[in-house]
Structures are given as structure tokens and as C-alpha cells.
Amino acid sequence: MNSRPANNTFATLKAASLWFFRGLKRGDWLWLWLAVVIASASVTLVEQLAQTVHKSMLAKAAESLSADLVLRSSRPIEARWREQAEQQGLAVAQSLSLTTMAMANDEFQMVLLKGLSANAPLRGRLHTQNNTDIAQLSADQVLADPQLQTLLALDNPPSLTLGRETFKVADWLTRQDVFQSTLSQFAPQVIMPLERITALGLIGPGSRVTYELAFAGEAAQLAAWQRLLEQQDIAHWQILSARAPTPDLEKALATAWLFLDLSALATVLIAGLAILIASRFYLQRWMASMALMRASGASDKQLTTLFAIQLMWLALLGSVLGGVLGLGLFQLITPWLADYFNPLIWPNFAQAFALGLIAGTLALWTFAWPAFRQATRVSPLQVFRQAALARYNPLRALLFSLLLLIGLMSVLLNHSVVVWALPALLLSAGGFYLLALALLYAIARLQPLSRGWLRLALAGLAREPGLVKLQFIALGLVVFLLILMTFVRQDLVENWQASLPQTTPNTFMVNIQPDQLTTVKQHLARAQIETELVPMVRGRLVAVNQQAIRPSEQDAQRVRRLLQREANNALLEQPPSYNRILAELAPSQRLPLPSVSVEAEIAELFGLTLGDVLTFDIIGQRVDYQITSLREVEWQSFRLNFFFILQPQAQLNLPFSYISNFHNPLSREDSAALQRDLAQSAPGVLWIDARDMIDQVQRIMQQAALAVSLLYLFTLVSSLIVIFTASQASQLGRLRSWLLLRTLGAKQADIVKLGLTEFVLIGLLAGLFAAILAQSASLLVSYFWLDSAPRLNLQLWLASIGTSVLLLLAIGWLTQRTPLRQTPKQLLQQLQADA
């Protein structure tokens, strides 16, 4: 002997790297590598997509809010809050607004008058025709909503009177905010510098003025500042953050994010299954190699290091490529995103890339390490004969890595998804395992009773029970996830389309007085607009079961706010058909009082139950109503919805007006003409055009549907890879029995029949059980998540079983084609080479 082993660690590192890259070049690692690429790409894409949409929406919301954070109060806000915020490095702007009457040419119109400090808005800009800024306005100038031109028949140059003074309109506002708008804020706006508004004499002791301090700055500073403001717990304060744009939109989008999270989770787990199966496929090969290296003198540590380094290389290259692929796919969809989100905020890609890298690496270690570890325990005696494998229980390692993976996924995804989706998947896997045991038992019983090729096919399945279990679990889970996601996605998109159809109401009319009703109806009928006019009255809830409720005594800020202001209450005998009645009071429990139907969430918030008596203050009149029903309302539908629907009482003579909303089919010009006519014949009626807002919400929904479909496609591709690797895992055993059969004189047709029967049997059974699971899950998802009626879906059963059988047949045919054409001698050579 003329050499000694060199420095072991360095030699092992070098050898491992050399062997890895040689193997990679030959395609040895293909299946494992693909699985890692998919896991990492999907996590990167989902993270980047979610961050982009989230940040873009945040920026949009901040623009609409004119700031990152707004402190709104019904009383003047002390100067010390502004000073303190500025000391903390935040930009601060001040504003106040009040609803008042504007006058011109003897016409009156209710307007929302806003006074802004010179640096407002802190985010975005004022949208005016000639880009006039608030700081450019002179003392006698205002910015105004162009609707006022028609509503007040303004002269040229236009001017209007507010309080004691007359102002020239310096420029026209071109866009209203789409988020954070309530109906009253849709009154035509007039904007002027803050210091001018206080001099108008419009603010008196009884005026309803809203004071605002707006803040902008770094996320961390803002969060701390928001906490500080919330800790003050001041009843007349309301804190608005750009982080929570309209609650309605947030709810609709939450479903989309949930689906995206589930897709990412499913993709990583599916990729994990691919790794688990592929590593079983490589196990025989690894064991042969390791036995030989052990015989050649490699130590346990050296073998472990050798393969761990190869695994690291695989994880690194797979994850990096996956990350790049994920970001590349994101780049591809960016043009669509830019269509829907303006401004489109690009988050730093490093975070998504890093998460993808970690996800790919962890998925590989979690699912491949048990097989690796088992291979490193191989006895060197294996080079002589099939030695018994050292007992190794991979459960601990698998559990540890799985926990790491779950930890990562919970950082990335919504915690609640991980909490219920993972146990559900593990339970399903357990179910499939039990079914696989039952299947193997049935095979053992059926085999002696069967004959011909069926008997041989059953024997083929019974040949490697461990592998059959694994294949069955993997196939079943993948088909289950795939079918479930197909139908949930379909339901989701259909639900969105149904919630905001093309005919979604996009125009509101408020403040229609009873004597204007006929005129308004005639105008609308002439324009061929069909609508219902709902009588409503403004009133405030003041007592429950004769116990006074005071805003200051309430814990929840939302309750306090609702109690402070007058709400719009419908005056209807029955709730509208588009509200779902959840509970009704039995006629025997009814009191001789008018009835009120309460929206379910508000009932829960106030702790109201059926039969309670509510007292409303309606312009000074106190009226009692008994709760006779609780309703569920879809706020995101843009239909007319109310917290309280009061039974009309003719004798009470309440000061009611009508409200209406409808889908406006007219062009912008025709719509303006109708508005002008209405302003002349029914003065004071407020026409609110929400087309831009609905359009934007519809676009966001479409965008979310696109993101959902994209992720779904990704899951589909990764599923196909799992099914492919699952079928390849048992290839060696299959080849061995074919060789034997061919040697004994079996015809090619018999072997084809035999091979395909194995595939069809597994496909059929996995598909059947997947359908059972998918149907159950789909029913649960429909009921609890999508709020839609659960239904049995024949399509789902056919798709599940059909997809599963056809996929396996196709994969079987593709993978078996070449070996079937080989002569027994060629088969033998291939087996020897692979052994």
C-alpha cells in the first residue's frame, strides 16, 4: 500500500460534491430534485404574490385614507398628540370635516366640507382636474365636486356660499376615495385650507364635526404609535389604519388568501410526498452503494456526512432554482397585477426567496432523511448477501423535521390554516393507511380464489406491501387534494361572480322625501332603470329591555361607535328576500309591540336575543320594538342592507325618507343628464355614483381568482410528479416478475395486461376513497367556509375515480412501454445494473 487516507472531512466533502454533480448530470437525482424545486417555487411564489397584493392594497388604502393611520374624533383633538407624534418622527396632518349646506343661485345642497392642513394628504395626492394643491389655494378659493355644477346650477366662473362667505371654485375634484367611505361621505365634497374653515362660523356647540389627525411613517413607529393611541381608550376616538381597508373587501379577500395558503401548504406536502416516495425508490440503490463503501472502509460518520452533503447540495440547487422559478413566474404575472393594483408595490424579493429556500430544504430533509438514515445503517455484509437491515425507527426524525416544517409554514401562512389543515391531512393519511391494510388483507384473501392474469396482478401488489401502502396513501392524498381544490376553486370563483354579478348595484340615491317619490320613480322609469325605493329613518339605539345603554359604558370600541351615531334603519314589514333569516320568534312569544329584525353580527356584538325589546331614539321620539328575527347579511353584495329593519307604524308619524340603489346601465353622459333633471325636479336628492368603487372591487376579485387559479395549476403539476414517482417506485419489483414470466414464456400481451391491471387497481381504489374524502371535505368547506349550501356532487365522484384511473393508466403505459419491448436478456442486464 502506498497511500493513507487524506483528511477525512475534506476528502468526504470533495467526494460528495464530485459524486453529486456527476449524478446530477446523469439525471440520477431528477425526481427528488424536481420535488424540491416545486416545493420551493410554490412557497416563493405564494409569499411574493401575497406580499405584493397585501402591500399594494395597503398603499391603496393609505392613499384613500390620505395617511397610514388616522385618529378620528367627534371632539377637538388636543395639540399635545400632534406634538408627541412629531417628536416620534411621524409626519402629521390635520383635518376637520362637517356636513353643511352650500348655496348658489338660491339653490341649496348638502355638502361634506373638509378643511385640510397645508401638508395634507400625507399619502397619495388630491385628484383635481388641473392638479391644484391645497397649499395653492388663496383665502377665497375652494376645491369642489363637479356634481355641484349641476346640483347648484353654478355660473361661470363658479362660486358658492358657505356660511357667511362666498368662495370661488379654483379646481374640480376628479376622484372620490373608494375605501373607508360611508354613505354620508358620498355627499359632494368641498375642500379648503384648515385655517379658513374655522373662520366661517359654521362650527357651533351642536355641530357634528369630525376632527382628524393623520399620521405617516415607518411601519414599526406607526405600530407603536397606534398601540399608544389605543391604550388611551378614549370613547370618542376612532383609530383607522390603512392595514384594515374596508371590512367587506377584507372578508371577500380573506377567502382568497385562505385558498392561496392552502394551495401552498398542499403543494409543499405533495412535494414532500414525492420526496418520500422518490427516496424509497433510491433506497435500494443507496443501500447497495453504502454497503460497498462500508466494505471498502468508510466509517458511519463518513457515510452520513457523505450523503448529508449530497442532500445539502440537492436542497440548495433545487431550492435556489425553485426560488428563481417562483420569482420568474411572479414576473410573468406582474403585468396583470399592474392592471389591477395601482400603485403596485413590489416587496423585497429576498424574504420570499429565503422562505422558498428554507421550505425546499426542510421538505427534502423531512421526507428524504429517514430513507437516507436507514441506508446508512446497512451492514457491509450486504455485499455478500441480503442481510437483515438494522432496525431503524424513522418516526422521531420524521416528527422532528415535520415540526420544523410546520413551524415554517405557520410563519408563512395563516396560523389557523395550519392548525386545522395539517391535522386533517394527517388524519386522512391515517385513514388511507388503514384502507391500505384492508386492501392488502383483501388481496391476500382474493388471490387464491382468482386465476390467470388477475391472480398474477394481485400477487404483484402483494409483492411489496410496504410500497403498496405508501403508494396508496400518496395517490389517495394527492387525488383527494386535487379533486378538493378543483371543486373548491370552482365554488370560490362562482361564489365571487355570484356575489358581484355584472348587474351589481352601483348607484345609490338617498334623501328622497316622500313627496318626491313619484317624481323620482317617473324619472327612473323613463331611463328604464328598475329599482325599489326603501323607506328609512335615522335613529339611535338607546335601551335594551328598558335598560339604558350608554356608549361610555361599553367595552368594545365598535359598540361605542355604533351607539354614538344615528344609524339608517329600514321601515319594512318583511326583511328583503336577499337576507337569510337565521332565527324567528315564535308567535306565542310576541308582545304587542312593533317588530324589529336585527342583523346577526350586531346582535351578537350587543348581546341581543330574540324577544328582547329595543328602544330607539328617532329625532327625539323614543319608540319600543321587539326583536322578532335575526338575519344574515352579505355586506359585500352592495345591495341595500341595514342593521335594523323596523316595522312601519303609520300612527307614529316618523320623519322618514327613501333610499334606493340600482345598477346604472346609462353612459356617463346620459347619467349626468338624468342627475341634472333629478336635481331640478327633486332638489335635495343625493345621487351617489359608486361605479368606480365597484369596478375596483370587481377587479380585485378577478385578480384574486387569477392568483387562486395559478396556484391551483402549480398544485396540479406537483401532483402529477408525485403520481409519477409513486408508480416508478415499484418498477424494480415489476421488472423482476416480468423477467421471470417472459423467461417462462408469457406473451407480451399478457404482461401488458398484468402491468396495467396493477395500475388500474391502485388507481381505482385510491380514486374511490379520495372521492369519499373529497366529498365529505367539500361539504364541510361549503358549509363552514363558503357559506353556500352543501350538495352531493356526482361530477366529483366521476372526476376523482376517472382521473385517478386514467392518470395511472397513462403513467403506466408511458413508463412500461420501453421495458416491455426489451428481450429477457436486456431486462436482466438492466436489473443487474440497477440492483
Binding site: 500500500m1 497511500s3 483528511n7 476528502a11 447497495a288 471498502s296 455478500f384 443487474q832 440492483a835
Partner: protein, 186 residues
């Protein structure tokens, strides 16, 4: 040295014990001056590293590695320099310099065994264990492999397990194993 005996007589088990691949339930085995019974699995592996070579009946080539890579394997595993040069020289010695980049599946049985022999001798081991190296080969190829093994083992002790008495006769010493009893036959 040749170890001969009938099928199932324990020839391969004896070889495994001698090479430290297995531990005896009783008795003592010394390899290269070390009592194998006192060494653990890793220490026995360390003793074999680069000092012991193997040739197996079923060749045991690394799947997925070509002929050259198979021969380079032990050199690379232990970080020896000039691995490629040495492996090419070893393959040339066994007459396979024209099949360097062929995968095992593209080689005949005789060629696969030549690769295995090249891999066994490339580290110039002090002792070479061969377990029925011609057992899976036809007569002509077996004769060529026998010749090759004897030509290459001048500086190495060859321990050969075989049931071919003619082949065993070429060795300087032959032991027979029968019913678990070892007897010197020559």
C-alpha cells in the same frame, strides 16, 4: 490462498469474518496484525480502508457510475490524489481503457468483473478478498478473469473463495471447509 468447499459450507461467511465485515460469535480473527474482535464496526472499517480490496461474484458496481467513476470511487472516498490517472491506469491493466465511460448496464459480465477488479487493485491493497469472482461468468471469460487476478496480485495477498478445484490449485495454499470444519488440503 484458496478457500474451497461445497455450496452452503460457509466459505463466504469465513471470508466476511476474515475481512472484518462480520464478527465471530467465538474465536479470534487477526487482520493485518489487529485482533478484529477488539475493534468496533468503525475501527474495522478504518483498518480495511485502502488496505483491503474486494472482488464479488455479483460484481457490485456502483449503479449510476460509469466504469472510470467506479474505479475512482475508493480513491475519491479517501481523498487520494491523481484519482483519475490512477483509475485509468488500473482500467488499462484490466484491458478496459476503451470502455472508461460506459455504464455497468452497457458492459458484459466479464467486463463488469474487470471493472470490479480494477477498483479492487487501484488502491494497491495489502490483501485482496475475492468471493467466487468467476461464478457468474462463462467458461472462456472465467479463464480470462482468473488469469487476470493472478497476473495482478504479485504484491498483494489474494484470498480466493471458489468451488473450482482447478482454479484453487493455482494458489500457493488451499484450505477446505466442510461441515464448518476447516482443513488444510495441500
Amino acid at each position: 490462498m484458496a478457500i474451497v468447499g461445497r455450496s452452503g459450507s460457509g466459505k463466504s461467511t469465513l471470508l466476511a469474518l476474515m475481512a472484518g465485515l462480520d464478527k465471530p460469535s467465538q474465536g479470534q480473527v487477526n487482520l493485518l496484525g489487529e485482533d478484529l474482535g477488539r475493534l468496533n464496526e468503525d475501527q474495522r472499517a478504518q483498518l480495511r480502508a485502502l488496505q483491503v480490496g474486494f472482488v464479488f461474484q455479483n460484481f457490485q458496481l456502483m449503479p449510476g457510475m460509469n466504469a472510470l467513476e467506479n474505479v475512482m470511487m475508493p480513491l475519491e472516498l479517501f481523498g487520494l490524489d491523481r484519482a483519475r490517472e490512477r483509475a485509468e491506469a488500473a482500467l488499462e491493466k484490466v484491458g478496459l481503457s476503451h470502455r472508461l465511460n460506459h455504464q455497468p448496464s452497457a458492459l458484459s459480465g466479464g467486463e463488469q468483473q474487470r471493472v470490479a477488479i480494477a477498483r479492487a487493485i487501484v488502491t494497491e491493497p495489502r490483501i485482496l478478498f475475492a468471493d467466487e469472482p468467476t461464478g457468474n461468468l462463462d467458461e472462456t471469460t472465467a479463464a480470462q478473469i482468473q488469469q487476470l487476478l493472478f497476473d495482478l496480485q504479485h504484491q498483494t495477498t489474494l484470498v480466493l473463495v471458489t468451488h473450482d478445484m482447478h482454479y484453487a490449485a493455482l494458489c500457493q495454499r488451499t484450505v477446505r471447509i466442510q461441515d464448518g470444519i476447516l482443513t488444510e488440503s495441500v
